[in-house]
Symmetry: C2
Subunit: 458 residues, 2 copies
C-alpha cells in the first residue's frame, strides 16, 4: 500500500494490519526500541514506524541505514508520542535495497548547489518533494482550467523549418555526422538531411496555435520550449515549459480577463491540492508563501498603459539605475516599484511598437502595439501577450519593416485571408509560475533536470 492511499483511508485502517514499501528517511535506533522516519514519496506526510525487541531480528532492523528501501508490515495505531498523530507498530521489517553509509542524502542541511550536484537523488529531499509535487499539481491546474473552459489542447510541433524567430535563438537539429557534413558548392547540403531542409527546434507554438485558434476558437499549448541563450542567470534555462493560449474573437481586454482568471484558478487549485507542500515551503523555505498566495486570489489586478507607468516612474522620488523612458522597455527595478505602487498585480498595456514583436497589432496611434505584460508582486513579469495583427496587408507591411522573412511562414500570413478575425494570445513560462508558487529563486531548482550552458548532466 502506498502512503497516499493510507492517509486517505487512515480512519478506516486504524488498528488494522497494513504493509507498506518505501525508504528510510531517518532512523533513531534505541536500546530496546527504534523509530524509522518512513516515506514512499507519495505524500509530504511521512509515516513513523516503531519497532521493539519483540522483533526476532531486532538487532538487524536496528542497523538499517538511511536511504534503504524496506517493506514493513505492522499495526496502524494512534501515536502516543508528540507531534506524530499515527504510527505503524512493526511486526516485520524486510530490507529490500540496501544503502551505503556514504549515501549523499543524509538528513541534514544541504546547499542548493550541493543538491544540483546530485540531481538524480535530490527529488528525494523534502524540499524537492514539495517543489516537484507542486510542479505536477500546477500542471494539472492548467489543464483543468483550460479543459473546463472549452479550450482544445493543441500539440504544436517542435521541429520547424521556419526561421522567423531568428535562427540564432533556435537549436539546429540534424541527422548528419558532424565530422562528415555533406556539401554542395561548398555549402552544407541540407537536401540530404532528414527533412531535406535545415531544421530547428522552435521556441514557440504561437504560429501553429493561431492556426488552431482559427479552427477551434479557444486553444492552448503546454509543452517544452528551447532557447540557445548563452546566459547563466537565475531565470534562464535552455529547456523549459511554456503555456501558450490563443483565443479567437478576443481582444486585449478579453485576454487580460482570461489571464487573471487563469492565474487565480491555478493558485486556488494548488492551495487545495498541494496544501501540505505549500505549508512545508512556507515553514522551511519561503516564509510568507501561504499568505502571499492567499492574497493573490482576492487581489484586484490593475490595468495601466506603458505610458502611464513611465509617468509614474518618472515622478517617483528614486534615483533609478536605469532611468525610465517613454518608448523604452522597463527594468526589473521598475517592475518591482510598479507592483508595490499599485499594491498588487499590474497589467501593463500598449507598449512602444519598436520593442515588441512583429505579429502584434499596431494601435491607432501608430506608435504602440496592443501588447500586455502581467507583473506580479515579488515575481516580475509572469505572462506576456498581445492582440495579433489580423489584417493581411498590415501584417505583411510590419514584417517588411522588421525584416521578417515571410516566405517560410506564408501559411501563417494566409490565415488572415480566410475568415480572419480579432484574436489574442499570451505565453506563460511554466518555471516562472513555479518560482512564484514556491518562492524558490533559481530556475535550476524548479526543473527536474535543468539544462543550462555547459550543464547537461544526468
Amino acid at each position: 500500500m502506498y502512503l497516499d492511499e493510507l492517509w486517505r483511508d487512515i480512519e478506516k485502517l486504524l488498528e488494522s494490519e497494513v504493509t507498506v514499501h518505501g525508504w528510510i528517511r531517518n532512523h533513531r535506533p534505541q536500546k530496546e526500541f527504534g523509530f524509522i522516519d518512513f516515506s514512499d514519496g507519495t505524500s509530504m506526510n511521512h509515516l513513523q514506524i516503531v519497532y521493539d525487541t519483540s522483533l526476532s531480528d531486532f538487532e538487524k532492523v536496528s542497523s538499517l541505514k538511511i536511504g534503504s528501501a524496506i517493506e514493513v508490515t505492522g499495526l496502524l495505531a494512534k501515536s502516543e508520542g508528540k507531534g506524530q498523530s499515527y504510527e505503524l507498530k512493526a511486526k516485520k521489517v524486510t530490507l529490500l535495497g540496501d544503502c551505503p553509509e556514504d549515501y549523499p542524502l543524509q538528513p541534514k542541511k544541504h546547499t542548493l548547489e550541493f543538491f544540483r550536484s546530485i540531481g538524480y537523488l535530490r527529488p528525494r529531499a523534502n524540499m524537492f518533494q514539495a517543489v516537484f509535487r507542486i510542479r505536477s499539481v500546477a500542471a494539472m491546474a492548467i489543464h483543468e482550467y483550460f479543459q473546463t473552459h472549452g479550450y482544445v489542447y493543441a500539440h504544436t510541433p517542435l521541429i520547424t523549418t521556419a526561421d522567423c524567430e531568428g535562427e540564432n535563438q533556435m537549436f539546429k537539429i540534424t541527422t548528419f555526422d558532424f565530422d562528415n557534413i555533406p556539401k554542395s558548392n561548398g555549402k552544407t547540403d541540407f537536401k540530404q538531411d532528414l527533412f531535406r531542409k535545415q531544421a530547428f527546434i522552435t521556441g514557440t507554438g504561437q504560429l501553429h496555435g493561431e492556426a488552431f485558434a482559427m479552427a477551434f476558437s479557444k486553444i492552448y499549448t503546454f509543452g517544452p520550449t528551447f532557447r540557445t541563450e548563452n546566459s547563466n542567470t537565475k531565470t534562464h534555462a535552455n529547456e523549459f515549459w511554456m503555456i501558450e493560449p490563443e483565443i479567437a474573437f478576443c481582444d486585449l481586454n478579453g485576454l487580460m480577463d482570461i489571464e487573471e482568471e487563469m492565474l487565480k484558478y491555478i493558485v486556488n487549485y494548488v492551495l487545495k491540492h498541494a496544501h501540505d507542500e505549500i505549508v512545508f515551503l512556507d515553514k522551511f523555505n519561503t516564509p510568507g508563501l501561504l499568505a502571499k498566495l492567499e492574497k493573490l486570489i482576492s487581489s484586484k489586478f490593475t490595468r495601466v498603459t506603458h505610458e502611464e507607468v513611465i509617468t509614474i516612474l518618472k515622478k517617483a522620488n528614486i534615483s533609478w539605475e536605469f532611468p525610465p523612458e517613454y518608448g523604452s522597455d522597463i527594468a526589473k527595478e521598475h517592475e518591482r516599484y510598479i507592483t508595490e505602487y499599485f499594491e498588487g498585480p499590474v497589467f501593463i498595456t500598449n507598449w512602444p511598437k519598436d520593442i515588441k514583436a512583429w505579429y502584434m497589432k499596431v494601435n491607432e496611434d501608430g506608435k504602440t502595439v496592443a501588447a500586455v505584460d502581467l507583473e506580479i508582486p515579488g515575481a516580475g513579469e509572469l505572462m506576456g501577450g498581445s492582440q495579433r495583427e489580423e489584417n493581411y496587408e498590415k501584417l505583411i507591411e510590419r514584417m517588411k519593416e522588421m525584416n521578417v522573412d515571410e516566405t517560410t511562414v506564408d501559411w501563417f500570413c494566409n490565415l488572415r485571408k480566410y475568415g480572419t478575425c480579432v484574436h489574442s494570445g499570451f505565453g506563460m513560462g511554466f518555471e516562472r509560475l513555479l518560482i512564484y508558487l514556491t518562492g524558490i529563486e533559481n530556475i535550476r531548482d524548479v526543473i527536474p533536470f535543468p539544462r543550462t550552458p555547459g550543464s547537461c548532466e544526468f
Copy 2:
C-alpha cells in the same frame, strides 16, 4: 458567446437574444430567406442561423461566402425545420473577415492527401475537428487518471548528452553554424558548443523517470518524443507524444493491472467527454467505432507468455508470411491473430531477452525478460513495458553483454546502489492510442502538424 457555452445553457437561453462569433461552414441563400451553417469550433454541434428579408442588408448577407468570419446577433429559438433542434433567428449579421471564392475548404468530400496539403486549414474540417478534440480530451483523460491515482507528472528533459539509445536514433542538436564547424585535431570540437559536449534530443524519458520513481514511487511523463527513423509508413512520425509511467514497488503483474485500468479509464473518459466526436466518426469515418470502444471497457484482458503465443501461432492452420519462431519477435499478422484468438486485448509477457532492451529484468530462466506488450484488437501493440533490472551488478553485466556505454548513464546505474527496489514502467505512444480511439489509420492525420521524412511544412 462561444457555442460550447451556448449549448451548455441552451434551455436557459431559449427565446433570448445572443451574439455569437464564428465561421460560415455552409450557406444556402434563398430568395426571401437563407440558412447559414455556423460554427466557432468549440462544439461538434453547429448552430443554424436563419435570416430573412427583415434584415436591411439582406442582399449583402445573402452573398456571404463560405469560410468567412461573422458576428451574428439574434433570437435563439426551437427550430421548425427537420434535423435541427435550435436555430438563431438573425437580427444582425456582420462580416468580420472575408473569404475568397477559391477557399480550399469547400463543403464537399476531400481526400486525406488533400487535407494534408492544407495542414494549416484542415483543423477546420469536421473530421479534424473531431480528431483533434478527441486528442485534447484523451490527453486530459491521461492526466486525470494519473493525478487522481497519486502519480507525480515528471517533466523529464529532452536535451541529453547520454547516447545510450544509440546516437543514430536521436537527432543531434547544436548551436554551431553548419558551414563553419569548429574543429580540434580534425574532429568536431563539441567543447565549443553550448553544452560543451555533443547533445541530442532524446527518444525516451524512462531513465529520468526511474530517478523520479525512486523518489515519488508513482510518476508519469507525457511529452514530445523524437526518432530519426527514415521510414514513410502509416505508423511512423519523427515527432510524436509519449506517456511513460514508472512505478516503484510494482512488478510485472502490477504493471499489467495499471495498464488495463488506465486504458479503460481513458476510453470511458473519451466516451463521456468527446461523445459527439466519437459518434461523428462512427457515422462518417469509422463505422463500428462506438461499439468497439464500449466493448473494450468490459473486456477481459488475457495474459499469456510469448512462448504460449508462439505455440498457438504454430498450431494455427495458417500459412504465415513470417513463420512464428520461439526466440523471435512476432509480426503484425501474428498480433492480429492472437487478439482474435482471445477475442480481446492480450498482454504478451516474458519475451526472449535478445530482442528486448538492456534495462529489462532477466527472468530466472536466464532466457526471457519480464517484459510485456499489450496487443489490442484492430490496433496492434499499444503499450510496451517491463520490470526493470534493479540489481546493480546484473544491470552492469547486461549492459556489457549488449554493448551499452555505461559511462554516460552512471547516475542511472547508481540508482541501484541507493535503496534499490522492484520497479516497472511502460511506454504508450499517444498517437497509437489516438489511432485506436478514432479509427483514423494514418499517424499523419492524428498529429496537428506531422513531421515525417522530407515533410516539415507548416
